[in-house]
Point group: C2
Chain length 148, copies 2
DNA sequence: TTACTTGCAAATGATTTGCTCTAAA
DNA sequence: TTTAGAGCAAATCATTTGCAAGTAA
């Protein structure tokens, strides 16, 4: 199943860098992969805590940093509202609600040809991009006025 | 000249909201408009300080927040490296260096048709987007290894 | 056994806020 | 004058880091 593949992937990629597969690392990735939301480090911390009651927030931050380096999770910076983490490793774009901060994944073709275009016109190398949409989600369009 | 237009714009827009046109507000906008870089609040603070030695960092932050509300400057969040401010009020995309953090404006057609497409498929309203590129700038491609 | 990791707490860095005095209108 | 705004410093918030104890390999 998907979860096993993740754990295997994780073990291999950690070993490649001389890092160990520990319980917190495995559980953090599993929990994040099991979500279709995009939690902050703190939100994820509380979720993981249900399985590992002694986990610390520092470990969550450290682990997320490693998982990002390994390409297993993506960070996304939803304007001002802090960093959120995405367990979906396929590249895709996001749509965030300006009012409540909720983030959803979008199904949109990737604009990868732009990277080469930008590299050519700027002289920058290894160009990638991030495309983020924001608007007001259906719920917030109704509840306009009341707090998030 | 352009600077006068900005000051006029500023006065009008502030008055519309019952806000006053003060020396710090005028100077902060002038300095930012006069740059083709994208300074952090602190960098801008030091620049403004050359003209207004008693200015405080808090005032710079407060003023930038107001100018953003007024649509006179844009905030941009270059992943992790903090918020930068852009005095160029025309919508455009950015390219940042992963290593030194430098940001340049790009001359690329706007992808505004995507907003409607995303709104239609998601039910979100007033959809806008932000497209940011990153890569390694020419200088950092050479100096690879040494600190930024 | 031998590092790498963790949990904890303290440190950091960016941004915000409270308060008193100053200065637009 | 009157009241919004500035300057200053303390507070806040997210994230990082140092260190002693725990645990993969």
């Amino acid at each position: 199943m998907a979860m096993d593949i993740s754990a295997e992937e994780l073990a291999v990629r950690l070993q490649d860098r001389g890092l160990r597969l520990t319980r917190p690392r495995r559980v953090i990735l599993e929990v994040l992969r099991g979500l279709d939301t995009h939690p902050t480090a703190e939100e994820l911390y509380f979720l993981v805590k249900q399985r590992l009651p002694h986990i610390s927030l520092g470990t969550v931050y450290r682990t997320l940093g490693i998982l990002e380096d390994l390409g297993l999770v993506q960070e996304l910076t939803v304007e001002k509202r802090g960093t959120r983490y995405n367990g979906n490793p396929q590249p895709h774009y996001h749509l965030a609600c300006r009012r409540c901060g909720r983030v959803v994944d979008l199904d949109l073709p990737l604009l990868n040809e732009l990277n080469a275009q930008v590299a050519a016109q700027s002289g920058f190398a290894e160009v990638t991009h991030r495309l983020e949409f924001c608007g007001y989600c259906p719920a917030c369009q109704r509840e306009n006025g009341s707090p998030p």
